[in-house]
Every structure is written in structure tokens, then in C-alpha cells.
């Protein structure tokens, strides 16, 4: 039971701390991979979500599982941005940095603006730990931290002390220090703690000692925050105004998994996932494997090729075949995607993009697989490409991918990225009854007459509107047919080496994909003043930073129009007109200009690319500066 402000602790002692109201805070927890920073961040996040603040999070962990303690390689961080108004990013730089050891301090101090709060666990600043990261002298003692509000806290020892009468090993006691830190910050930012207690009860139900320890540590942290002189103020952040409804916090990978399950329900097709684990896509496999009650089948294949192969086989049998991977895995799936293009069967290929080339930066984010998705196959092999714009949007994007795949009998690329996959935001839980159904529209009867007027089945006789071929699944009487990767005669689907037929089929496959544009909503532009001359256009996870940047630009009295495309192949029909109606178009991408290239080629517009390949989401400030530069150097209206 914890004290409240103003409450009488004991005879005459009142909790008397000043309470300050803030509109937004950005906190970064940083520590050793072993310190449980991700879990701490997650907990603080759900407390915050529960309070109704808007929020966005950015985990940042190393590719190594658990590099040796105290090394820079082992530093794991979690940044949370929460506010009383709607926000779009995890924030450029923290207002508060919690550094659990010297490595965490060294790795993160650079991002902390002067004058901001710095909470350090002094116990870890031992000679040995300082040496590990090359601190000649202890930054807590020398003047290197001048200019920050440093709060030195003996986190470890206080935690151990607080747990003295619980019988667990010293090691286990020290492990609980992240809960001490969490409790401290929960107090500092007036977060409730019930759900954390519930969470711990659930997590450690089978280990009562550990449970007791964690709860005790949490409460100790809370009381410390409250009683220490060092924290003169306690902060409050009001709930944000959001549309009424039920909300939850969600990261991109589960949202995407839910979208696939919803697609399975809406289409009545069993969901089959053929996947091979790879960071940062694995969690989709993990999530789906938890929901077999939906008839979901998850197969961990021997490799990426088998994963997509099995998914394609399932699609051929009438299931909703899906494969999930990241960049290096896509390269391996290319040949089978080409087969799916030739077979014209529904298939969803999820690429959670990460830093490349090759193994690259497995745990970092990037948008550099766009052209791979567009062109990474032999021959003329068009595939629709769509990209979600935020963690929760992964749900809608997955549903949309399924709609296109099933309606048009085509493989579809769903391009997520590492930031969307692991970043989180509040999500208004949608009403499942409002989802459109997706009709698999299986072929059930012959669709053609042979020379002698007998009914026969032509697997490549296309729907006049969509250009889709019939999907006749095995088990359907009298529709027996053979399909394959060799070019097929238009209509009958028999093997054909005829030159003109190949030209025809190549163009038919292309126009089928191009025709999807007819079912894509017109692209909308956000231009509050209506007189902007510069347009900023984005795709995928840059949505948040771009939106935040536009606000900054507008807050400085400039006009900027912005739009964001979900459908990259085909483009929305009105995209050309939109591009043509602005003097300048800026396209920020976490690559060297891949969407820019597609736009330049198609619309001959001199796109201004703003490109970073840093494995990190854009900082909205930098983006705003880039926009302003363009606005200011902008010549007279043409």
C-alpha cells in the first residue's frame, strides 16, 4: 500500500511534494541486455496507456542475445513518448534518461539534450565497469555531466536492502533493480501501478519468492521516489483527447498477425503460415502460433524457400497462404514468388524490413527492400506492394493485402519494417462486425466448351473485370487441370511457346496488377491552409515523423502539404495529378531513394529525396529543417 500526496504518513508527517503538470514527456530506459529494460519499458508503457495518454515507443536492442555484462555491445534501450495530446513519434530525444550502468550512460548520453534529467544507478559505476567502456575517470565524479540534472541513485544496493527479509539469492535480489527503477518512475510521473502488480502476479505465479521480490522492489522504488529530497517535484500528464472507444496498446507484429487472422475469418479460408524464423519478423510466427483456435496452421519450415513453398501449396489447396520474413529471406523466396506470379494464386509475402545489405543490421529498421519487392524476380513479374504506416495500421494493411491477393489471385507484398514491428501505439479496437467479407469465389463448374461443344475447364480464362483467373481447388469435380511455371496459352492454360501468346500473357499479367488501382481509394492530401506549394510524400513507417515534422513546420507559420501512400504497386490513380499540382515534392525515405525512383520514372517529376540509412526512424526536427530548407529555397511558382 503506497502513500498518496497529502496523506499523513505518521503523526505530523505529510507527503508534501509539488506537483507539476506536463503536456508530454520522453523517457528512455537504458541498461544491460540482462537488466530487463524492454520489460520495464513495456510495463511503464501499459501503465501510461491505461492512463489514457497518447504514446509511441521505440525499443532499441542489440543483435547479440546477451553480450557480456557492462559492455557497450550489450546495451539495450527503450524510449517512450507520452502526452496529453495526440503524438506521432517516440520522440527525437529524451527528456529523461535512466542509465542503469556506465555502458548505458556512454551509449545514450549523446542523445540527451543539455538541461534534461539523468537518473543513474551509481552502484554500477565501479572501476571495472568504467574500464569496460573506456571511462578513464568516473563521469559521476568529474564534470562531464555538468549541464544535466543528474539524479544519482544507488538502485542496486537499495533494491537489495529492500529485499533483505525475502529469502532469495543476492543475484536474484539485484535482478529486481529494474522494478525499483520502474516504481521510482511510476511515482515520478504519477502512473498507477495496479496493472504492474497484476502483471507480476501472473508472470511469477509459480515462483512466489521472485514475485515477492519484484513487488517489494517496485514498492521500494515508489516510496523512494516519494521520499527522496532529490525528486522535488512529481509530474502529471493529463489523458489525451481521443475518439471515444475501447483502446489497447499494440506493436506492429501482433497487429499484422491479427490482420491475417481477421482476413482468414473474413474469407473463410484457413490461415496457413509457412515461415522460417528471422529478426525482426519472427514474432509474427510466434504470435500466430498462439492462435490455433482459429484453425491457424503455423509451420516452421527448414528454410525460407520451403516456407513460401508450403504456403503456396496451401494456397493451391484453397487456404490463405502466408509467408513472413525479412530482407535476406526475401532474396531466397524470389524464385517461388515468380512461380506464384505464373500460377496466379493468392499468397501474402510479409517482409519486415531491416538494415541491409546482406545480414546488415538485423535489429534496426530500414525501407530498403522496396525495389527488391518490385523487381526481385526473373522475367516480367509484377506483384502488388502495400505498406502499413504505423504499428496499428499493420492490421488494416494485412487485411487489405489479403483482399487483393484473393480477389486478384496474386502474390502480394506487405512491406513492414523493424520500427513498425517493435514500436507501439494506442489502438482503438475495431468492431469485427464491420469488416468486409472477402469472397474466395472458387470455380465450381466448367467455364468453356471444347471443339465438340463439351464443357471443359480453362484455368486461365480471366474475369473480364478483374482479369483474375478462376481458382479451382483440388477436390472440385470435373475441374481437374494442370498448371505450372512454363508459359501458358491464354485461356486454356496449356503449355505454349508461341511468341505472340507470350507477349499477350505478359501484358495480361501486368494489366491485371495495374487494374487493382481501380479498387484503391483516391489518395488524400493534408493541406490545412490549402495553399501549400510544397508537398511531402511518404510511405510506410515514416508516416509518424513526417506528420510530426509537418506540425513543426506549420507551427512556424509555413504551409506544407503532405500525403502518404499505402499502395506502392499499383499507385493510386490520382497520384500523378497530385504530384503535378505542387511546385516541389519531397520524398523522405530510410533508403537511398527507392520510392523516389519509381515516382520519377512514372511521372517524370523531379522528386527531392531526403534520405537517411541510419537504421533509425527519422527525427521530426531534422525532417522539419529539411522541409523548411526546400520551402525557403523554393523559386517563384512555375
Amino acid at each position: 500500500m503506497m502513500p498518496r500526496i497529502g496523506q499523513e504518513l505518521e503523526e505530523g508527517f505529510f507527503v508534501v511534494k509539488q506537483v507539476v503538470r506536463l503536456s508530454k514527456v520522453i523517457i528512455r530506459f537504458a541498461g544491460d541486455s540482462g537488466d530487463g529494460m524492454q520489460m520495464t519499458g513495456d510495463r511503464f508503457t501499459s501503465e501510461t496507456a491505461g492512463l489514457g495518454n497518447d504514446l509511441a515507443t521505440l525499443p532499441d536492442f542489440p543483435a547479440e542475445i546477451r553480450a557480456p555484462q557492462g559492455t557497450l555491445a550489450g546495451v539495450s534501450a527503450f524510449q517512450l513518448h507520452f502526452a496529453d495530446h495526440d503524438i506521432m513519434t517516440p520522440g527525437d530525444s529524451p527528456d529523461v534518461l535512466v542509465a542503469m550502468n556506465p555502458a548505458a550512460l556512454k551509449a545514450n548520453l549523446g542523445d540527451l539534450p543539455l538541461g534534461k534529467e539523468l537518473i543513474v544507478n551509481t552502484d554500477e559505476f565501479t572501476k571495472r565497469n568504467l574500464d569496460k567502456v573506456g571511462y578513464a575517470t568516473n563521469p559521476l565524479d568529474d564534470d562531464s555531466l555538468e549541464g544535466y540534472h543528474v539524479h544519482p541513485v544507488a538502485l542496486t544496493s537499495m533494491t537489495v536492502a529492500a529485499l533483505s527479509d525475502i529469502d532469495i539469492s543476492k543475484k536474484d535480489a539485484e535482478r529486481a533493480k529494474n522494478m525499483f527503477a520502474l516504481g521510482m518512475l511510476c511515482w515520478l510521473y504519477s502512473r498507477p501501478y495496479e496493472s504492474t502488480i497484476d502483471f507480476l502476479n501472473g508472470k511469477f505465479a509459480k515462483r512466489p519468492q521472485i514475485l515477492a521480490a519484484n513487488i517489494a522492489a517496485f514498492e521500494a522504488g515508489w516510496s523512494f521516489g516519494e521520499t527522496t529530497e532529490d525528486f522535488a517535484v512529481q509530474y502529471e500528464i493529463n489523458p489525451a483527447q481521443m475518439p471515444t472507444g475501447t483502446y489497447r496498446n499494440i506493436t506492429g507484429n501482433p497487429a499484422l498477425a491479427y490482420g491475417l487472422i481477421a482476413a482468414s475469418v473474413q474469407s473463410g479460408r484457413p490461415l496457413f503460415l509457412g515461415a522460417y524464423p528471422i529478426t525482426p519478423a519472427s514474432d509474427i510466427l510466434h504470435e500466430l502460433s498462439k492462435h490455433k483456435e482459429f484453425g491457424v496452421i503455423t509451420m516452421q519450415a527448414e528454410d525460407e524457400i520451403a516456407g513460401i513453398g508450403a504456403a503456396l501449396g496451401a494456397s493451391y489447396g484453397g487456404a490463405l497462404g502466408v509467408t513472413t520474413t525479412s530482407g535476406p529471406g526475401i532474396a531466397l523466396k524470389s524464385e517461388t514468388i515468380g512461380l506464384a506470379v505464373a500460377l496466379e494464386l493468392p499468397l501474402i509475402i510479409v517482409d519486415v524490413q531491416r538494415g541491409g545489405p546482406s545480414t546488415g543490421l538485423p535489429t534496426k529498421t530500414e525501407q530498403s527492400d522496396l525495389l527488391l519487392a518490385m523487381f526481385g524476380r526473373n522475367g516480367e513479374s509484377p506483384v502488388p506492394v502495400i505498406a502499413p504506416k504505423s504499428p496499428s495500421d499493420c492490421f488494416d494493411a494485412a487485411l487489405e493485402a489479403a483482399r487483393i491477393a484473393i480477389t486478384y489471385r496474386t502474390p502480394v507484398f506487405l512491406l513492414s519494417d523493424g520500427y513498425l514491428a517493435n514500436g507501439s501505439e494506442p489502438w482503438q479496437v475495431p468492431d469485427a462486425t464491420t469488416f468486409a467479407t472477402i469472397d474466395p469465389d472458387f470455380a465450381t463448374a466448367p467455364n468453356h466448351l471444347d471443339a465438340n461443344g463439351n464443357p471443359e475447364f480453362w484455368p486461365y480464362l480471366r474475369d473480364p473485370v478483374t482479369g483474375a483467373r478462376p481458382w479451382a481447388i483440388p477436390g472440385t469435380k470435373s475441374l481437374e487441370h494442370r498448371i505450372g511455371g512454363i508459359e501458358k496459352a491464354n485461356g486454356s492454360g496449356a503449355i505454349s511457346y508461341d511468341p505472340d501468346n507470350h507477349d499477350t500473357m505478359t501484358r495480361l499479367r501486368q494489366s491485371k496488377i495495374d487494374g487493382i488501382a481501380d479498387t484503391i481509394p483516391a489518395l488524400e492530401v493534408d493541406d490545412p491552409t490549402g495553399d501549400a506549394r510544397v508537398l511531402i510524400l511518404g510511405w510506410g513507417s515514416t508516416f509518424g515523423p513526417i506528420g510530426a515534422a509537418c506540425r513543426l513546420v506549420r507551427s512556424q507559420g509555413f504551409t506544407i502539404a503532405s500525403t502518404h501512400i499505402r499502395h506502392i504497386n499499383p499507385f493510386p490513380s490520382n497520384l500523378g495529378a497530385i504530384l503535378a499540382s505542387y511546385d516541389k515534392v519531397i520524398v523522405p525515405e530510410m533508403n537511398l531513394g527507392q520510392l523516389s525512383m519509381l515516382l520519377r520514372a512514372k511521372y517524370l517529376v523531379d522528386i527531392i529525396g531526403y534520405n537517411q540509412v541510419r537504421g533509425m526512424p527519422f527525427k521530426s526536427e531534422e525532417l522539419a529543417d529539411a522541409i523548411l530548407e526546400v520551402i525557403q529555397t523554393q523559386g517563384a511558382p512555375a
Partner: protein, 349 residues
């Protein structure tokens, strides 16, 4: 239900079928004289035995001359890509228990580019019947050596002779945890159909190696095993439960010598009781493996044909279905709204 346990979930044929029901309208495009014709005829002749509806049979193939096979059968069929048929068929068989799924592949398709999918299909024991047409050559690409070609083979890509030691498909399969492994010959229709029946009856992955003649690029590769004058001496016909004997007058047999290894002996010298009896159902694959090592890569001496191994192990697809079913029994079929809601929500009013 079909008389084949492995097809218990497949609808039975309502009317009797004949070979011609399984002929497609496509003109067959193999070279005249190719062993594939004989296999095609044997399969078309065998399929009616399954007693299931034609539309519930699927043939999935890779790439190669052999992989053109599905085009010529009036069932569902997919001519996929090189080496990947077992993976594709795995997804199909795992989601469709009501189908009889067959894979057609070649020695290059299955053992070269497709090696990984083959061994994983075998260990998983998916309900697939894999027919491996082994002509010891790459036919469709016009005659390069394959993983089953004898070392030293002169081919387009090895004008001075190949240097790779060859695979023994039966040994490889046994090392990969196969539950059913058999070998037969294109020209011996009776034996071929017998093996197909055994494979079809097996629940799980069945690998059937079929010695096939490519008369264009590797003619007579198996001739000694077909030629009436020589085959009697070379072929060991494995019969469940029988002592392993062969030779023109059954004068030879297989016996385990004290050093623990199998050897071919003269029955006259050792007597019938000294011979080992064939037991394809033994859980321990050791004996089957030892038998697979008897044959000589070059002379084809002591080449066993028939079923090497045939043991029960729940198939992957059955386990998948049972797991889903048991979870649904526990949790009921999924509630989408509940899933989306999750546990940690808050309301804004």
C-alpha cells in the same frame, strides 16, 4: 472409405475407374523410348486401385523431364519449380487431408537442388508419396551428370569424368529418418505397381526410387538389371519375412558375418538358416541401411529392389490437425473480437 489406411479421409470413388480415366488430353512430349512412358502407363494403370475420386488426387512435380509427368494425368497437378515440389506438397497435404498427394521428381530435382526439402519431408513424415525417377543424368538440360551418376562419368559438364562420389538415395533417406523407402524399375510394371500400392498404403512420407532409362543421354544405365541374361544374378528382390536369397537359381544369399557386416554368400555353403530374413517393419533402420550398402555403383551387383523400410510413425499433417483440434476442443473456435480486444484495454468516453 478407401482400402488404403493413408487415405482414410479421402472420398471414395462412386463409380469404378480405369486407366484411361487418368489420361489427360495433353500430347506426351518425352523422347520416344524414354523410360518415363512405362512409368506413366504403370501409374495410370495403378491409380484406379486407390478407389478414390480423381479430383482428390494431386500430382506435384519439380522441373526435369520426369517432372512433366503431371501434365499427362487427368488429375489435379502442379508443375512447380526445380527441387521444391516436396515443400509445396507439404503445404498442400498438411491443409488438405481429403487429398492423395504425390510428388514426381528426378535424381537432380530431388537429390541435387531439392536435397534439403527431401530430407526434411522424410523426417517430418508428411503424408506424401514421392516417386523419384532416377536415370543417373540430367535429362532436360541435355546430359550433365547427377548426384547418382557413377564417379568418373563422362558428360557434357565433365568431359574428363565426374569427380563427385554419388549418393545412394535409399541410404540417404534412411539417414534422414524415413519411415518408408522402396526401390523399383521402370520396365518391371508388376513390381512397380506393387511398390506403388505399398507406398500408397503407408501413412506418411513414402520415397520410391524408380530406376528409369534415359535413352538419349544415359542409355542402358540400368540395362544389366533388366536384361534377362544378367538381372537374375544382380537383382535382390526383398520380400518381407523371407530369407534374403537371389541369383539365377536362388543360389546366393545375404548373411551377416561375425564382423557385423552383411555379405553375399553361397547358400550351398552356409545353408538357408544362416541367411538374414528381411524385415521392413523393424523399428531399427540398421538392417535396411546395411542392405542399401550392398549394391555396387558401377557393376550394379547385389542391387536390392522392393520395400527396404515401412514403419509406423504418426504423419506430420495428422499431428498438425490433432493439435489444432485439441486446442479448439479446449478453447473453442476463435473469437475474433476477443482476440482484437486482448486483455489490457481502457475506455475513452
Amino acid at each position: 472409405m478407401s482400402t488404403f489406411p493413408s487415405l482414410s479421409l479421402v472420398p471414395v470413388a462412386t463409380s469404378p475407374q480405369s486407366a484411361k480415366d487418368f489420361k489427360s488430353d495433353q500430347e506426351v512430349r518425352w523422347c520416344p523410348g524414354c523410360g518415363d512412358y512405362a512409368i506413366l502407363a504403370a501409374v495410370q494403370g495403378f491409380l484406379p486401385e486407390l478407389g478414390i475420386e480423381r479430383e482428390n488426387i494431386v500430382f506435384v512435380s519439380g522441373i526435369g523431364c520426369s517432372s512433366r509427368f503431371p501434365y499427362y494425368l487427368n488429375t489435379y497437378g502442379m508443375h512447380s519449380i526445380h527441387g521444391r515440389a516436396p515443400a509445396i506438397a507439404t503445404g498442400l497435404a498438411t491443409t488438405r487431408p481429403d487429398l492423395s498427394v504425390w510428388v514426381i521428381t528426378g535424381d537432380g530435382d530431388a537429390l541435387s537442388i531439392g536435397g534439403n526439402h527431401l530430407i526434411h519431408a522424410l523426417r517430418r513424415n508428411v503424408n506424401l508419396k514421392i516417386l523419384l525417377f532416377n536415370n543417373r543424368i540430367y535429362g532436360l538440360t541435355k546430359g550433365q551428370y547427377s548426384p547418382t551418376s557413377e564417379q568418373g562419368k563422362i558428360t557434357k559438364s565433365t568431359p574428363e569424368g565426374s569427380l563427385d562420389h554419388s549418393f545412394n538415395p535409399v541410404s540417404l533417406a534412411l539417414g534422414a529418418e524415413a519411415t518408408f523407402v522402396a526401390r523399383t524399375i521402370d520396365s518391371d510394371r508388376k513390381h512397380l505397381q506393387g511398390v506403388l500400392a505399398a507406398a500408397a498404403a503407408h501413412e506418411g512420407t513414402a520415397l520410391v526410387e524408380i530406376y528409369q532409362n534415359c535413352n538419349i543421354f544415359n542409355d542402358n544405365a540400368w540395362e544389366p538389371l533388366k536384361d534377362p541374361d544378367t538381372r537374375g544374378d544382380l537383382l535382390i528382390r526383398l520380400e518381407q519375412g523371407e530369407p534374403i536369397r537371389f541369383g539365377k537359381e536362388q543360389e546366393k544369399g545375404v548373411m551377416r558375418t561375425p564382423d557385423g557386416h552383411l555379405h553375399v554368400v553361397h547358400v550351398a555353403e552356409v545353408g538357408t538358416d544362416a541367411l538374414i530374413r528381411h524385415d521392413a517393419h523393424a523399428t531399427d533402420p540398421g538392417l535396411a541401411f546395411a542392405l542399401s550398402r550392398l549394391s555396387d555403383v558401377y557393376s550394379l551387383e547385389n542391387t536390392p529392389i522392393g520395400v527396404f523400410r515401412d514403419v509406423q510413425r504418426p504423419s506430420y499433417d495428422r499431428l498438425v490437425r490433432e493439435q489444432v483440434a485439441s486446442i479448439q476442443a479446449k478453447r473453442g473456435t476463435g473469437d475474433l473480437q476477443g482476440l482484437l480486444r486482448g486483455h489490457d484495454t481502457w475506455n475513452v468516453n
